[in-house]
Each structure stands twice: as C-alpha cells, then as structure tokens.
Symmetry: C2
Subunit: 105 residues, 2 copies
C-alpha cells in the first residue's frame, strides 16, 4: 500500500483537465459519461484520464449496474504531500548547513 513511486503521481497531477476531473469528482462520485456532460471534452478523453488517475491510485472505480462510477481518493494525495514535505525539509536542512559552513570561511 502507498508504495506508488511518486513521479508518475506528479505527472498525473500535472494536467489541467485531470484536475478538472478530480475537482468534479470531489463534488461526488460520477461515471465517465456523467463527467463528459460537465466538462468540455469527450467521454473517451475522460476515460483515458481516469485510467491514468487510477493507475497512480488517485481514484478508484466501482461498478453500479451498467455504469462505472469513480471516486477520488484523498488519502493518496495526503501521502504524496507528506513525502514531498519530507524531501523539501531535507533539502532546506542541507541548504542551511551549507550556508552556515560558507559563512564560517
């Protein structure tokens, strides 16, 4: 669990249309067709985006009758955020150390 490498997650998050989809799903679960009604792109395009998002664990799908309903997974976002924060903190720590050493010269 949460063993996803983070680069593909960022790649998935680096697209405006996918954010539109995520935001729309944030209002409540929906199918690709339903999303196509609200967004200015084709159902097929949305389906592809949903596949990408699902691959990196940002959404999950559930069959409801003849439709595939998608749900956004905030936990994956939080996990990614935590990892990012740790990296950023580490880099700032090193930067501070280097700066300190430089000033001592």
């Amino acid at each position: 669990m949460t063993s996803t490498t983070l680069v593909p997650v960022f790649a998935a998050l680096g697209d405006e249309t996918r954010w539109s989809i995520l935001v729309a799903l944030g209002e409540g679960d929906a199918s690709a067709s339903a999303l196509a009604g609200r967004l200015p792109v084709t159902r097929q395009a949305i389906a592809k985006h949903l596949a990408v998002l699902q691959d990196v664990g940002l959404v999950e799908s559930v069959r409801v009758g003849r439709e595939l309903r998608y749900r956004v997974l905030g936990a994956q976002l939080s996990e990614t955020a935590r990892r990012l924060d740790r990296i950023g903190a580490e880099w700032d720590r090193r930067l501070a150390a280097i700066k300190r050493i430089a000033e001592e010269l």
Copy 2:
C-alpha cells in the same frame, strides 16, 4: 510570493530527469555544465530542464564568474506539499460525509 499555480509545479515534478537534477542539486549547488558531467544527458537538455524548474520556483540561479550556479529551493516543495495535503484532507472529509449519509439511508 508562493503565488505559483500548482499544476505547472506538478508538471515540472512529473519528469524523471528533472528529479535527477533536483537530487543532484540537493548534494550542493551546481551549474548546467557540471550537472551534464554527472547525468546521462546533454548540457543543453539540462539547461532546458533548469529553465522549467526555475519558472515554477523550484530552483534559483546565481551568477558566479562566468558560470550560472543553480540552487534547489526546498521551501517551494514544502509549500506545494502543504497545499496538496489540504486538498486531500478536504476530499477525504467530503467522502466520509457522503459515506455517512449513504449508511443512514
């Protein structure tokens, strides 16, 4: 400050080579030419990546004699992480609410 829209930041972080550059810079500041010595890509390719990273505020550059030295900015990463975390938390909150309502039916 920190008014960067986050989608381009994610797009910038969604590339393996750029992460290699960030990690290399994490070991200490360096110029595009210096990085080209350590990474399996051309100096020009690295220069382009550095431009992307600088555009979204992930690195900054300082002229040192005839070379342009780059430095990674962990603060921008932390800021991005904080925003991500807030979004994820919000979505999980809504999901929980929806689930609760569904169970009450």
